[in-house]
């Protein structure tokens, strides 16, 4: 099978091109010599099956970041037929260096000048034929986002693969790269021969918008204002969708499941309806909100506003031993902690990476958000619910800040902070649709595996041994809960909530599912039952604990694999468990002492 690797600087549209080329058929996988997972896909090009590998973004083949190391190790250990180099056409003046480096290595390559739509608007004219002659590799202009030039690029790639011979992995890649001095001249020659810049640039839309959004004093308030509006938007749109899903699930239960299971034994009915269906269904009702959440995140990410957030927050973050990028990762963590942790790979200093990875798990991720929406809706009047949620976000920041302050001496770094500020962009509807679809698929995969396993286990624990009143003190769940009572009772967390927390260690989605199963109810009945079973002080203490104690097993696994240190991973978990206990204890006992 032929193999093609995709390389380019971060933010040049590599993923956009990869998605367009592969459809949605990409899988993460392992490659020899590379410790991290890469995105790969097999596609049919011309008559050949081609394996396409999306390599992490790199600035320079010499580079020192984790990502750049990965690219080198991949190229050293894996034979490739062709490398497609993607760069941002507007920045060709310096990004062309990567193409020259690949030429030096002698790897067959094609150069794709992406974002040619933006370059065109700026008035940049690139003579691709001329460039291709001097560079000695095919050069194509392309807009991966809007598709212009895509089929030509695809054809050129197909043609090259047709006649390609697989090159073995390169030995001593770094040694093969000549020093940059000669390259400098080559670059200038190529650029001056084949690129024409406009004489005068009109002030761009981006520059005008930045004057407001990056304003020294207004910038931050505007940023937090925008975030606030986004959350309002998510709930405003999400609530009716959530109701719709609940209604739909109720209909299926009444009209399909119940008649179907009418004659089956009681335990089977219990397992299927009260266990799996209610459990997974309760989790599923949050899918619309989560999908909306990720869509909004995707828009924000795509617009380039996050880099602006890094600019605005860097001064504050540097006082915590972090930098503007750490703040962006914290924000990404609001979606899901796992990709946020992986995003720290762009940092060159290990200390800065470790400190950033230590604070990311305190980001209130969308899975925890489900738990909080659920509990808040049950125990607080609608008027107070947004305030409660807001306070939890504040707590999320507060614990992250505290952690950074306490540990910044252990992980001190002097990593310079340099970041590109891309122009403002808007995602296309297609991009949004794909993103939403990915989230739904992601949920279905999780739901079909460990959410189901989780709720079945919870059901078994609360219903066994046979013949006991369900979820009573004699059930396995009750016994397990009693073991933990000495630790969790001082936080106001009862045995049933303890079970939910135990499973929440695996994934927070299971928490709401588990509550549905423990109480054998769903929908409004469940919320009412929860409201009876605890008061608001207990509920808030439970939420604080849920927020802080640990995100989920995947996060712990990622912490371990990204740091390659068991000590660090478990140390981080121990710290957050301890902090969670401390915070909940102070809150619960404090509130009780004050007479609440």
């Amino acid at each position: 099978m032929k193999r093609m690797a995709l390389v380019g600087m971060p933010n040049t549209g590599k993923s956009t091109f990869f998605n367009r080329l592969t459809g949605a058929g990409a899988r993460v996988g392992n490659w020899p010599g590379v410790t991290v997972d890469l995105l790969g896909a097999k596609i049919l090009l011309g008559g050949h099956m081609v394996e396409l590998v999306d390599l992490p973004g790199l600035y320079d083949l010499h580079g020192f970041t984790e990502d750049e190391r990965v690219v080198r190790h991949f190229l050293e250990n894996n034979p490739v037929d062709l490398v497609a180099i993607i760069l941002n056409a507007s920045q060709i003046d310096h990004q062309i260096a990567i193409a020259l480096q690949f030429k030096q290595l002698g790897i067959p390559a094609i150069l794709l000048l992406n974002m040619s739509d933006e370059a065109e608007k700026l008035g940049i004219r690139i003579d691709t034929r001329r460039m291709s002659e001097t560079l000695g590799m095919p050069v194509m202009a392309l807009s991966a986002k809007f598709g212009k030039g895509f089929s030509e690029a695809r054809q050129a790639i197909t043609g090259m693969l047709e006649i390609s011979e697989q090159r073995p992995g390169l030995e001593d890649l770094k040694g093969k790269l000549a020093q940059d001095d000669q390259m400098e001249t080559q670059m200038r020659t190529i650029i001056s021969q084949s690129v024409q810049y406009p004489r005068m640039l009109a002030e761009s839309f981006t520059a005008r918008l930045d004057r407001l959004l990056l304003h020294p004093w207004l910038g931050l308030p505007i940023f937090f204002g925008v975030m606030y509006l986004l959350f309002q938007g998510i709930f405003l749109l999400g609530a009716p969708l959530q109701d719709a899903v609940e209604w739909l699930l109720g209909m299926i239960d009444q009209n399909v499941l119940e008649p179907f299971l009418a004659t089956s034994p009681g335990w089977l009915h219990g397992l299927v309806v009260d266990g799996i269906y209610n459990g997974v269904g309760t989790v599923a009702s949050f899918v619309p909100i989560i999908v909306l959440f990720f869509l909004f995140m995707a828009v924000i990410e795509d617009t380039g506003y996050l880099s602006r957030a890094a600019f605005l927050m860097d001064a504050l973050m540097s006082r915590l031993g972090l930098d503007g990028r750490s703040f962006v990762m914290l924000l990404m963590g609001f979606g899901c902690n796992v990709p946020a942790l992986m995003g720290t790979r762009v940092m060159r200093s290990r200390a800065l990476r470790l400190l950033t990875m230590m604070v990311i798990p305190f980001s209130l991720c969308s899975a925890r958000l489900q738990v909080f929406i659920f509990i808040t809706a049950a125990l607080f009047p609608p008027k107070h619910a947004p305030l409660v949620l807001f306070s939890l976000y504040l707590m999320s920041f507060a614990t992250a800040i505290l952690t950074a302050l306490l540990f910044k001496r252990k992980f001190t770094s002097i990593e310079p902070f340099v970041l590109e500020l891309p122009p403002y962009r808007l995602p296309t509807l297609m991009q949004l649709w794909l993103r939403g679809w990915q989230e739904v698929m992601h949920f279905l995969r999780r739901a079909s595996t460990f959410i189901v396993i989780g709720v079945v286990l919870v059901w078994a624990l609360t219903h066994l041994p046979p013949g006991i009143p369900e979820a009573s003190a004699q059930s396995f769940a009750g016994i397990l809960g009693n073991w933990f009572a000495p630790v969790l009772a001082p936080l106001g967390i009862d045995t049933q909530m303890t079970i939910a927390l135990l499973f929440g260690f695996v994934a927070k989605e299971i928490v709401v599912g588990a509550l549905a199963v423990i109480h054998g109810m769903e929908g409004n009945a469940l919320t009412q039952q929860i409201a009876i079973s605890m008061d608001w002080v207990q509920a808030y203490s439970f939420m604080l604990f849920t927020l802080i104690y640990t995100p989920c097993l995947s996060t712990i696994a990622t912490l371990r694999s990204e740091s390659r240190s068991n000590l660090y991973a478990w140390g981080t978990v121990a710290w957050s468990l301890g902090l969670a206990w401390g915070v909940s204890f102070v809150f619960y006992q404090g509130a009780r002492a004050l007479g609440y």
């Binding site: 320079d60 930045d210 990056l214 020294p216 605005l312 860097d314 001064a315 060159r348 310079p416 970041l419």
Partner: protein, 86 residues
């Protein structure tokens, strides 16, 4: 010939030519790859509050970097170029 000054001392709206990068090899490569190459004109666009980063423009690329790091980038006023005064 005029002396070169640190980039951090330019005010928003002022230009210069990158004369020297007083940084280690790793950062040198990163800066170069992002477009901060010796001999190229650079312009400071704005500074963040609270001694935060500065925004600069090289060619058509906008970058943000910390003032502390901008101290290590020596620039000369447009036509000249000599060494940084430290």
């Amino acid at each position: 010939m005029s002396q070169s000054i640190p980039l951090a001392e330019l005010k928003p709206g002022q230009n210069g030519i990158i004369a020297r990068l007083k940084v280690d090899e790793a950062l040198y490569q990163r800066l170069t790859a992002m477009g901060l190459r010796i001999g190229r004109p650079i312009r400071v666009i704005r500074r963040a509050a609270l001694s935060g980063p500065i925004q600069v423009r090289v060619g058509l690329t906008d970058l943000i970097l910390r003032r502390a790091d901008a101290l290590n980038i020596c620039i000369t006023p447009p036509p000249n170029n000599t060494d940084c005064y430290t």
